[in-house]
Structure formats: structure tokens, C-alpha cells
């Protein structure tokens, strides 16, 4: 495999620290992220609105709050930053199976293979950018025949596809943008070199002598003369996601915003692993340390429909009584490789086969699993044990052809013989000795004072007496 056919795209998120703490919030005010620098909280990044009102990166937090009292700032969260980087990798993995992380804020993907697919690279890169934007991430995208160069050019939103153009593009950058050790940087500055081109114009030996041999190695990687060792990124085997809310809340619209973002990630994960969702377990963690609220959403058919899932989550949230603010949401997914594609109904052309499971899901989201069932016959001679509730739509066909009433009482109810006018019978039922439930009964059709036809029996053992067991009606 010749290395020259490779082409790397770099996805760079310039506002990663800011996004990491505010991605899950729909707040439209001035926002910032701060970090502790030399014992003082200083702004690291600010959004456009905060900048307009005078907040600047590098400012101390107290100073910024004095200028802009309604500025909302959160402290930097490196864990969330690496979560977003994983999210970007998942996004990239949908388009390429050669994906690497370039922490802290860039993801690389090999796109040489996609050059001739889907009408070229431009639509692919546009699609990546749009998808990221849909998840609230603004990306810069670089393109270069060498991975190292793609990583560097991504910071400047520069795209080149052949080595000569790459050399020019890199050469035009300021040396400050290279990833250099501080002593190297100082030595280069002391030589009053400004642009990368000036540095590469120097003879190799001269560079090695003045700035160290590893600078040549780095420049070789940048120009694609040496390949950069990259660790391949793989999507996780199972899906689990825990999202911390920027502002703890009980408001269902704020929670739904978080769920929508979480489902974006879940959808990508299912796509790249070619899985269908079967069950989603949701846990809402309380800020005050109170008991978590948890619910499950089971799907009648493996698949994924984001709008439908959001609707189901909304139904579940409506039914919950949240006693305190939620500060984190945890999602775990059960999935299966079995994905049945939606079929169209031959008769009316609507997507019936998909719509029916969707209706069942919606019903069971509100009614709960015990609130929605189908009926199935069970193998037992005693009529009260000859039926069972089963999950909707899973009943086996019934082969029992003995006459039975339309209605069964949940359990036989004692009654007085004198209130019954026996009409037909008896049918003797004698069974159950194998599980210690042996019984001997004679079933009759009888009529009660209201003119209803009842299914009654006289029990001879273990109890004695008359019981109503069902109604014909």
C-alpha cells in the first residue's frame, strides 16, 4: 500500500473546553469556561456573546464577573472534553474505519478511500461539518496527504490534497503554530525565523545542530516523508453514556435537550456497530443525593427512531415525579445485531409493520409493562391456571377446543347453590395431583337472577362447595 495514496482529514474543535461544559445546555446567554492558573481562576474560553460584552480569555473570573455580572462560567472539565473527542471520533468512524485521536482537540480520519465515493471529498467533509454542527460542535477541518500535517492544517481550516500544495500550505504558517518544545521555540525565535518555510529552507544538518535532531523528525512527519505512528480508534463494544448537566434542573424541556444530544451519540454508535436498539435504560441522578429516578424503554422491534424514542422518553418523564434537580443523566443500551428492515404493507402502502411496534412502544411507555399484555393459553387442566398474560403480540396459537366462557374471573368465587339455576353439564375436571394442587370438580352452565349465564363448578376436593368461575357474555 503506497503511502502517497493516503489522504487524511483532521477534525479540530477550537472551542472544545467551552463546548465540553456547555454542549448540553440550551442557554443563550454569555458563557465561559475557566481554569485555575497559578492559583487563580482565569477565563479559558468565552462564547461570542460574552466576548461582545467585554469578557476575554485570560481575564480573571472575578474581573470578568465585575464587567459582566450575568456571565455564566464553569470550571474546565477534561473528562467531558475527552468524551466530546470520543463523540467526534464516532462521527468520523461513520465515514472511515481508520480513525485516530489526536488529543486534546483533534480527530484524524483517513479519507483517501472515499475520494471516489459519494461524489468526492467535498460533500463528505461538508457532511461531517453539518453533522457536528447538529450536535452543537463547530469544527475546523483540515485535509492533507500526511496525518501530522492534517492535524496541523485543521487548526487553520486548510485543505490540500497533494504533497506540493501541502508543502506550500505548511510553509506559509507561522512557526508559533508548530508543536515544539519551549527551548526549541526559543532557539528558533532567537534566530528571528517567522515562517515555517524559512525553517525548512535551512539545510538539514544545520537545523539538527541548532535546534536538535527531533525537529527534523517532526518536519519529516509533517511533509509525509515519515509516517506518524497512530493508534487506531475503535467504537466501544457496549454503549454507556453519562452526561453531566451544566445546570441542574427538573425542567423537562432542559432534560429533553440533553436526551436529544445523547440519542445523537447513540444513533451513531448503533450505525457504526450495525446494531438495533432493544432496550434503553435511563437513570436520572439527583443533585441533592436523593434516590435516582430510573426507567426502561423496551422496543417491540430492534431498531432506532430518534423522534419516536424522544416521544417515549417524554412520556416516561411526564409520569415521573422528580423530587429534586437532576444533575446527570446516564444511558445504557441493550442492542442486537438483528435488525429487521421496515417492510411496507402490500395493501395500503403505509409502513404498517413499523407503525404497529411504534404504537405498542408508545402505549407501554405510559402504561408500563404490566399495563399492556396479550393473552395466551397455558398448559394446565385447571382452568384458572390455563391462561397467562404475555408481552403484547407474543401469544402462541391455542389448540384447546373445549368449550369455555368468554370471561374468566381472576379466581373462582364461592357462591350459594340456591342462587343458581343449573342448565347444562357437567364437565368433570380432575387434575393437578402432580404439583400438589389436585382437585376434582364438575363444571356447569347455570343462570343467575340477572339472567346471565355463568360457568360454575361444584368442587369435591380439596374444598367442598360451589364456585363461580366465568361468564358467558
Amino acid at each position: 500500500m503506497s503511502q502517497s495514496s493516503q489522504l487524511w482529514a483532521g477534525l479540530h474543535c477550537p472551542a472544545l473546553p467551552l463546548m465540553a461544559v456547555w454542549q448540553l445546555s440550551s442557554i443563550a446567554g454569555p458563557l465561559a469556561v475557566h481554569d485555575s492558573m497559578r492559583g487563580q481562576a482565569r477565563l479559558l474560553q468565552v462564547n461570542a456573546l460574552a466576548r461582545q460584552h467585554g469578557a476575554q480569555p485570560g481575564q480573571s473570573l472575578s474581573q470578568a464577573l465585575a464587567v459582566l455580572p450575568h456571565l455564566q462560567s464553569r470550571s474546565r472539565c477534561r473528562q467531558s472534553e475527552s468524551r466530546i473527542l470520543e463523540q467526534m471520533a464516532l462521527l468520523a468512524y461513520q465515514h472511515s474505519h481508520q480513525v485516530s485521536l489526536a488529543p486534546p482537540d483533534t480527530v484524524l480520519l483517513e479519507v483517501g478511500g472515499s475520494r471516489r465515493l459519494r461524489g468526492g471529498l467535498r460533500p463528505l467533509l461538508e457532511e461531517l461539518r453539518d453533522e457536528a454542527l447538529g450536535s452543537g460542535l463547530q469544527l475546523r477541518i483540515g485535509l492533507a496527504p500526511a496525518a501530522s500535517a492534517a492535524c496541523l492544517l485543521a487548526r487553520h481550516d486548510l485543505r490540500v490534497s497533494d504533497p506540493a500544495a501541502m508543502k506550500t500550505a505548511i510553509g506559509g504558517l507561522a512557526i508559533d503554530h508548530l508543536v515544539l518544545k519551549s527551548d526549541q521555540r526559543k532557539a528558533i525565535r532567537d534566530c528571528s525565523l517567522r515562517q515555517v518555510a524559512e525553517l525548512t529552507a535551512l539545510p538539514r544538518a544545520e537545523r539538527a545542530r541548532r535546534f536538535g535532531a527531533d525537529l527534523n523528525h517532526y518536519l519529516d512527519e509533517l511533509h509525509g516523508h515519515l509516517s506518524t505512528p497512530l493508534a487506531q480508534w475503535q467504537p466501544p463494544e457496549v454503549f454507556g453514556l453519562r452526561l453531566e448537566l451544566p445546570v441542574p434542573t427538573v425542567r423537562s424541556d432542559a432534560l429533553m435537550f440533553v436526551f436529544n444530544r445523547a440519542l445523537d451519540t447513540l444513533r451513531r454508535w448503533l450505525e457504526v456497530r450495525d446494531q438495533g436498539l432493544t432496550r434503553l435504560q435511563v437513570r436520572l441522578e439527583r443533585e441533592d443525593g436523593g434516590p435516582d429516578n430510573a426507567f426502561d424503554i423496551g422496543l417491540a422491534r430492534p431498531g432506532f427512531d430518534q423522534d419516536r424514542l424522544l416521544e417515549l422518553i417524554q412520556l416516561k418523564l411526564d409520569g415521573l415525579k422528580l423530587a429534586g434537580d437532576v444533575d446527570a443523566v446516564k444511558l445504557d443500551a441493550d442492542s442486537t445485531a438483528e435488525r429487521r428492515p421496515a417492510q411496507s404493507d402490500l395493501l395500503d402502502g403505509t409502513n404498517r409493520s413499523d407503525a404497529w411496534p411504534a404504537l405498542l412502544d408508545r402505549l407501554s411507555a405510559r402504561l408500563g409493562e404490566s399495563g399492556l399484555s396479550s393473552l395466551a393459553p397455558a398448559q394446565d387442566h385447571r382452568p384458572e391456571h390455563a391462561w397467562t398474560w404475555v408481552p403484547p403480540g407474543t401469544s402462541a396459537p391455542c389448540r384447546d377446543r373445549r368449550p369455555r366462557p368468554s370471561w374468566l374471573l381472576p379466581a373462582p368465587r364461592p357462591c350459594r347453590r340456591e342462587y343458581l339455576a343449573l342448565e347444562e353439564g357437567p364437565e368433570r375436571i380432575e387434575s393437578g395431583w402432580w404439583d400438589g394442587q389436585d382437585c376434582l370438580r364438575d363444571y356447569w352452565i347455570a343462570r343467575d337472577g340477572k339472567g346471565r349465564q355463568l360457568w360454575v363448578f361444584q368442587e369435591h376436593q380439596p374444598r367442598h362447595g360451589w364456585f363461580i368461575h366465568g361468564l358467558f357474555g
Binding site: 404497529w356 399492556l372 368468554s406 370471561w407 374471573l409 381472576p410 364437565e427 340477572k450
Partner: protein
């Protein structure tokens, strides 16, 4: 008394003249065959009103309201149009349903009494269901929920039934049909038909399936002779083994 008698015979006479247009007759809506030809003739639209609400008012629960609908439930579930029974008062017996020809995997029972009306609306609006029957929970039934049910029914082709308890009064509604069920059982049309419509006697055949009196259980397989659903049941049974004696 005399006048009511003469007008009922007049009605009978008039009904024998298909060429005669009668202004009182409501415009005929779509209807689903009930599964019984005599019942279809009696019902105003020659079947159960589809995409509309029918109210059943049995004198007491268990008087025949489920048996009445078994044939149409069988017919709908066999063409994969699911039937939803919402908070029925007792457990519909799966053996009885299956013998009437109902495909059990197309039958859903909603058991959560708090969300019965909501579930019925969802089912009706989806346009996927073959029949929906709701038993409202004890207590007063609000006019608004029945009205909403009626509107939801109009969204799809399914016939919708609401079955009131004897102690519940039906709120004012725009239901297409309102039937009382009397012991017998017999049906009386309270709304939807001509004012002096005669009662319809369901007969025991509709609600019962049992061998002749005091026959030994070994003859149980003969029982379905007078069951209206037997034609479906028998065609299903043809391949099955004869039932072993209990």
C-alpha cells in the same frame, strides 16, 4: 298503545319497500359486517359503524357484550388488524377467543385503568387497529373523554365500542349507535336506527358453546354446532388432532 302498534306495523310495511326513500333515514356510513347476517340486517348500516363510536349499555356486565363482538374480532385479527380491549371487567378467556377464530397474537389487553381513554385514543388515531373496546373505570364518565374518543374514532377505520357499567350513565355524545343489552340476551337500539325498531334477540347460540344437556364429556368436540363462529373455528380445527378427553 294502539298508535304505537300501528306505526310499528307501518314501519314494517315501509321497510319492505326498497324503492321507497324515507327522509328520516340517516345517511348510511361505512360499516363492518358483524359476522351474523341477521344482525347485519337489523343494524342501521348493515354492520358495525366503522370509524365511529358505538355505545353498549348492558343491563349488567357479562350479559353478552363480548360474545356479540367475537365474530368481528375474529375477522379483523385474521387480516392482521389488531384488536385492543381496554380495562375489561374480567379476563377474556383465551381458549374461547381462539375458538371463535380470534388470532391471539393480534389481541392486546390494556390493564392500566388510569390511562384507558388515552390508550384508546392512541389506538384509534394510529389507524392500525381493527377494533377497540373500552370499559370505562367505575364512577362518572366525563362527556369530554367520550367526545375525544369519538373524534379519535373518526381518524381511522376501526369501529370503537364503549361499554358502560349498569350504574354508569352515558354522557351526552354523538355516538353513531347506542345499544342496550337486555337479559336473553337481546339488543335494543337506543340511538342510531328508526324509532320503533324491534329488539334483536341474540339467542343463546351467540353467547354459549356447550354440548347438549347432560352429555358425557367425550362428545365435547361436537359442541360448536350452533356457534355462529364455528365456520371459522372449524376451518382452523380441520388440521388439528381431536381433543383428548379430560
Amino acid at each position: 298503545m294502539h298508535s304505537s302498534h300501528s306505526s310499528s306495523s307501518l314501519n314494517k310495511l315501509l321497510s319492505q319497500r326498497p324503492d321507497l326513500w324515507r327522509g328520516r333515514r340517516q345517511p348510511r356510513g361505512r360499516a363492518l359486517p358483524s359476522g351474523r347476517a341477521d344482525l347485519d340486517r337489523w343494524l342501521p348500516d348493515q354492520g358495525w359503524p366503522s370509524g365511529r363510536l358505538t355505545e353498549l349499555m348492558p343491563a349488567c356486565l357479562g350479559l353478552g357484550e363480548l360474545g356479540l363482538l367475537l365474530p368481528v374480532m375474529a375477522q379483523q385479527t385474521r387480516i392482521a388488524r389488531p384488536v385492543i380491549l381496554i380495562t375489561p371487567p374480567w379476563i377474556p378467556c383465551p381458549q374461547r377467543l381462539a375458538r371463535a377464530g380470534v388470532a391471539l397474537d393480534q389481541l392486546i389487553v390494556v390493564r392500566d385503568a388510569h390511562h384507558g381513554f388515552w390508550a384508546a385514543e392512541q389506538g384509534l388515531k394510529s389507524g392500525l387497529c381493527g377494533l377497540i373496546m373500552l370499559w370505562p373505570p367505575r364512577g362518572r364518565v366525563s362527556e369530554r373523554s367520550v367526545r375525544r374518543l369519538q373524534l379519535a374514532a373518526e381518524k381511522g377505520p376501526a369501529p370503537a365500542f364503549i361499554c358502560y357499567r349498569p350504574d354508569q350513565s352515558a354522557p351526552p355524545s354523538l355516538a353513531a349507535l347506542r345499544l342496550a343489552i337486555h337479559p336473553g340476551p337481546s339488543l335494543e337500539m337506543l340511538r342510531g336506527g328508526a324509532p320503533h325498531h324491534e329488539r334483536f334477540h341474540l339467542g343463546r347460540s351467540n353467547v354459549i358453546a356447550w354440548p347438549g344437556t347432560r352429555r358425557a364429556p367425550r362428545l365435547l368436540s361436537e359442541i360448536t354446532r350452533d356457534d355462529p363462529t364455528v365456520s371459522i373455528a372449524r376451518s382452523r380445527q380441520s388440521a388439528a388432532q381431536p381433543e383428548p378427553c379430560p
